[in-house]
Assembly symmetry: C2
Homo-oligomer: 199 residues x 2
Amino acid sequence: MNLFGPSLERLVVALRCLPGVGPKSAQRMAFHLLESDQTGGRRLADALIEALDKITHCQACRILSETDLCAFCVNPKRNHSQLCVVEMPSDVQAIEQTTAYQGLYFVLMGHLSSLDGIGPTALGMDLLAERLDKNEIHEVILATNLTVEGEATAYYIGELARGRKITVTRIAHGVPLGGELEFVDSNTLSHAFKGRQHL
Amino acid sequence: MNLFGPSLERLVVALRCLPGVGPKSAQRMAFHLLESDQTGGRRLADALIEALDKITHCQACRILSETDLCAFCVNPKRNHSQLCVVEMPSDVQAIEQTTAYQGLYFVLMGHLSSLDGIGPTALGMDLLAERLDKNEIHEVILATNLTVEGEATAYYIGELARGRKITVTRIAHGVPLGGELEFVDSNTLSHAFKGRQHL
């Protein structure tokens, strides 16, 4: 038991559910909340409960959203004929920061992984297939991660779209801007060679 | 506004009250709680509210405690004639881990700092003086930090105790165990020389 009683102990344990927080940081956070920032602590508890209650997934694209349809899906200014498929909502955020893409998204919330028992249904592939059947999408852009699972997922969705005569593209993988060849890992470099384009 | 709505935005802002959590980590934590660990999120909110409601300070020594008197102050096995004065509850935890000390504690919850407007009353010096007046304490051990403020605080409490003819000691500062002289900073080293003892 914790020196200062069971509820502090429970708070320390609960804080460890946060990513990157080990026993020492959890303790530091608990002390900070109780000693120096009780207002912040209450605000955090309220914000957590509110977010967990309100935020669900968009019924069309599975993005985190407070409404049935997310801000992207109801925005008439976006290009509704392009659909970018990503693994996580954080990927959407990264892409939006570039402002290079104006189409819609579809968030899988993961990738195909037979080891973890994650199949097409868990990733909303049926919802995606339904959406593709509506003939509104002319291009599916695959932006899943370049991992074994991400690639397998991209392949699966590629087949889904090709079967419906929809253009399928994959975002380019290669040497990052400002990256020096000397310091780029060999997998990336071999991808950069395979993906070379005519000038 | 956040891409995914105001309550996610509020959660990200609220998470930043945690020490060491910047905008990127706060976002990662928020996504993690909403996507992968909703149970953990609810447990965290409950634990926070419970801890903030239940935990107050011991009326005798200002340690974090769920009861009016903390587990140290009511424990007959501890040496009630020794009082170790520290700045924060986390210091108590560090000392308890050594098991080298069996007396009681007094937690200031900070240090004297005219810049931040923290005077003797805010640190519970009146409570400490009252306690020293009871003639139960025979030794006051000063374990405030070795900073300008910590030293000033130690000096103030030293005067308080000396005025009541109570022995005052300060914990030793010097080269840490296993520390190599080469790598010890010069302040620590000069303290180690000043605090040298007869063999």
